[in-house]
Symmetry: C2
Subunit: 338 residues, 2 copies
Amino acid sequence: MRIAIDAMGGDYAPDEIIAGAVEAAPLLDKDDVLILIGPKDLVASKLSEKNTHNYKCIEVINAETVIGMDEKPVEAIRSKRNNSIDVMAKMGASGEVDAVISAGNTGACVAAFQMRMRNLPGVTRPGISVVFPTFEGPLTLCDVGANISCKPIHLYQYAVMASLYSRHNFGIEKPRIGIMSIGEEDAKGNETIKKARELLRSDKNMNFVGNVEGRDIFSGKCDVIVTDGYVGNVVLKLSEALVSYMFKSIKKELIENHKIMAIPVGHVMKKIYKKYDYHEYGGAPLLGINGTALICHGSSKARTIRSAILAAKKYHKEHINEHIIEYLSKSDVRSADE
Amino acid sequence: MRIAIDAMGGDYAPDEIIAGAVEAAPLLDKDDVLILIGPKDLVASKLSEKNTHNYKCIEVINAETVIGMDEKPVEAIRSKRNNSIDVMAKMGASGEVDAVISAGNTGACVAAFQMRMRNLPGVTRPGISVVFPTFEGPLTLCDVGANISCKPIHLYQYAVMASLYSRHNFGIEKPRIGIMSIGEEDAKGNETIKKARELLRSDKNMNFVGNVEGRDIFSGKCDVIVTDGYVGNVVLKLSEALVSYMFKSIKKELIENHKIMAIPVGHVMKKIYKKYDYHEYGGAPLLGINGTALICHGSSKARTIRSAILAAKKYHKEHINEHIIEYLSKSDVRSADE
């Protein structure tokens, strides 16, 4: 399997990205190849510092420019010729690589992957899917920012894709699917939610549990939650900030008032933090793209990239895209406005 | 000041509600009166068990029926004659009471308060405002569920109301106001957000900082965040669940692997939990209603109700509604579709 990695994407690029590829190298299969995309001289020189002569599986492909984290996606893709995200997306489109991974500008990734690689047959809009680890098992949330103006059919397709991902990636046989709303009753929710609920109910192959609420990410009521990219993005960023905030509060309290406990409890906290740390999960798949595409957190470190590489291998190996194509080809659910 | 309390609202009604009124009684001013609304015999008999003969400040007003937590708001208000929420709302409307407090069905409260008490002059839609305690001070979020289909003018008015609340309730002189979006750049956000941003920018008296993200609830970047009731409700419920989930994770880890630390750390946790506990904050004001109206969490306990009673007193005393009326009467910001 050939996996392309945007060497220039993210707050800690290129060093942590390259380090992540190097960390992943010994974990790969015999015929796997990692391809780092970025300014060739820079990337090759950083790579040579890493004592990587043993790793024939790491190659470098040149891309002169880099899209900044805050640039406007579509404009940047068009104006920055040969930027690392677009070079990678074109390789994904041509079949030169089997998977693409970037911790760069999320909007630019979504735009470039869609523009070059196109959607899977039958998919109207791709969606980014993230996983929340909970006591009750992994909760998959889709979308978290690819699509902020969701139509009912998009939400239906997110449910199809995220549940196939949940099934084949986590082994949950028949994932229970909820739609994010503000109350359990059918009366709750806006028009898009109500229409999406009808589409979801009409598909008898779907294990749809109806409306869920913000709290249900952790309640064990479902395995998959679909929502539009605006709400999903707020949920994702809030959760990260709140977890970090809670840990800081505890640390502050311990240091100020219970200093003797600060160090032992600190160790416990670190252990828990690691369990719920997105760095361990690697990237979030952009479900619905014709290829394996993982988008990583902007603050990805080497271990995030290493995890993302392994996640891309699993996604590919489990044939998740093939399952999505097959499901949608058999589904007769269509949007009312199609 | 006369404060009406829905004795039948919430998961622990009527016992905890009545207990909350009793707890608040000694903290009131001389001419304050608490009026418990519910089936008179039941409430009076529960009250008599509490040794309340000293508290002449607690009265009971009869309301025969109760709206369940999961009933459809408008239908329930219409079909259940003399329900406690509606009886209270009518008293708020007639001026018999200066404030109304309920931990009952949120949708029914919003509907009844709007229907009976009406909006403040100039306000198009009321919004529920909650407070997140953070290291950087209290963050006020509006709306969290009164209005799931927000128009730009609603978001503008939420900013006006929530910032006046933040100013007069918490003493933040010029609250910094953000609008919840999915990125900082102006390009980010849906059409409603973009139009609301224009309205907010056009008001030079407003300390508007632009787009904020889910993480900014805890970042100290602003004091007030406006969002539609759908997103706000997800944020609120997710936050509660996540905090409780984190504490459970820590407890589990300690009990399983560091039993010796479980008890002392448990005490520290309780202290922190209390600091961020919504029970301490009492109710969330329904800003924009012509009166002082507080909506409490469904799982309110006695201390939540006690806090809500004190919060209602403060809201009233600070003349927050008068400030809102004055501000809006001078503002020339109007919706494009008005």
